[in-house]
Amino acid sequence: MEEFRVVLLVFISTVLINNFILVKFLGICPFLGVSKQVETAFSMGLATTFVMTLTAAATWLINTYILEALNLPFLRYVSFIIVIASLVQFVEMFIRKSSPVLYKALGIFLPLITTNCAILGLALLIPLNGYNFITSVVFGLGAGIGFTLAIVLMAGLRETLEFGDVPETLQGVPITLILAGLMAMAFMGFSGLISI
């Protein structure tokens, strides 16, 4: 029961309190780049969540049974990035074979997930936090859902903003950043919701 409680708290805290985008600044590039439409933002979030959950499991296994068992921590960055790149490639091949519709919807975003720093950040945070296997997978899932939440909310705001009267100098990137700042302020309200 105690185990279950910890897992649940980790999940809620990664989705809301320590949101990867708005609090930890991981994955800002897709957040700014792919948040013009709600639909594409949602597909991007879904693909990222999928890769994040798999990455959490794969890197936990590699870190525990290979890198730490053989005392090779200096190979961590190199091996993690290889794992992520091949995982993304694998997911791409799998989706192309199993569901061409989804593959078409995700398009270019799939290969770009490799250079999303939220994924490598997630893989590096797990050994730092010392999670066990189940908690790591839940942490990956929570991070992905938090990412999806932030990017979909942002896309909704930007769609509405299309009709707004934005000053010429603030159009494009600046107004998006300011919006993100306001969202981050709103998410600050979640801090202190629970404590571990």
């Binding site: 708005l22 609090v23 930890k24 600044f25 991981l26 994955g27 800002i28 590039c29 700014l32 200096f74 961590r76 960055y77 190199v78 990035i81 290889i82 790149a85 490799t114 250079t115 999303n116 720093c117 994924i119 490598l120 950040g121 590096l124 945070l125 730092l128 010429e168 100098t169 603030l170 990137v173 600046p174 107004i175 998006t176 950043l177 300011i178 993100a180 700042g181 306001l182 981050a184 302020m185 600050m188």
Partner: protein, 199 residues
């Protein structure tokens, strides 16, 4: 030739500045600019990785097969990042602790991979060095400016030295995540305005 090198160097400083114009490498820009010290350290670390990997890749560009160039670039970058990480941990443990996760994350900084793909893999080494220096300095100065603004308003100090006296009520929001988004947004807006005036 020299003129070309100078042009490549100048390119990154303003005209194609990685942060303001290309809007890449956003994660470290927002995350570690809460104090000038952190911003400067991050800028130098990123520049070091950028320069060394551009040198190596422009030297070996003929040997790297086209099909596997992206993985090869990432491996070369990751090697230099590991080196930087261990160097900082050994000689500047305080800075390494406050930058923590964002040193290893230089591996996936789009700025570095982007320059390898767009420049180093197509040009001679001398021009690649000029490009890396220009981009590195262009990245660093924006980081330092942004962190100076945030530290000044957020803590009333620069480099940890109190500038604004005790009368100043620090705006804590500026050193928190929300302040990073707001100040970068306003900064890019101001730069846009200056650019428009120039034209």
């Amino acid at each position: 030739m020299l003129k070309k090198i100078y042009k490549d160097f100048k390119n990154g400083l303003w005209k194609e500045n990685p942060i303001i114009v290309l809007v890449i490498g956003m994660c470290p820009t927002l995350a570690v600019t809460n104090t000038v010290e952190n911003g400067l350290a991050m800028g130098i670390a990123t520049s070091f990785v950028l320069i060394s990997s551009e040198i190596v890749i422009s030297l070996f560009k003929k040997l790297i097969p086209n099909n596997v160039r992206i993985p090869s670039f990432i491996l070369i970058i990751a090697t230099f990042v590991t080196f930087t990480d261990y160097f900082l941990k050994a000689f500047f443990p305080d800075i390494a602790a406050s930058l923590s996760l964002f040193i290893p994350l230089i591996v996936v900084n789009c700025l570095i991979l982007g320059r390898q793909e767009a420049f180093a893999s197509k040009n001679p080494t001398s021009r690649a060095i000029a490009d890396a220096l220009g981009m590195g300095i262009g990245f660093t100065w924006v980081l330092v400016l942004l962190s100076a603004v945030r530290e000044l308003f957020g803590m009333g100090s620069i480099f940890g030295i109190g500038i604004l006296g005790s009368w100043y009520e620090p705006m804590v929001i500026m050193v928190l995540p929300a302040g990073a988004f707001l100040s970068l947004g306003i900064l890019v807006g101001i730069m846009n305005m200056i650019k428009r005036r120039g034209n």
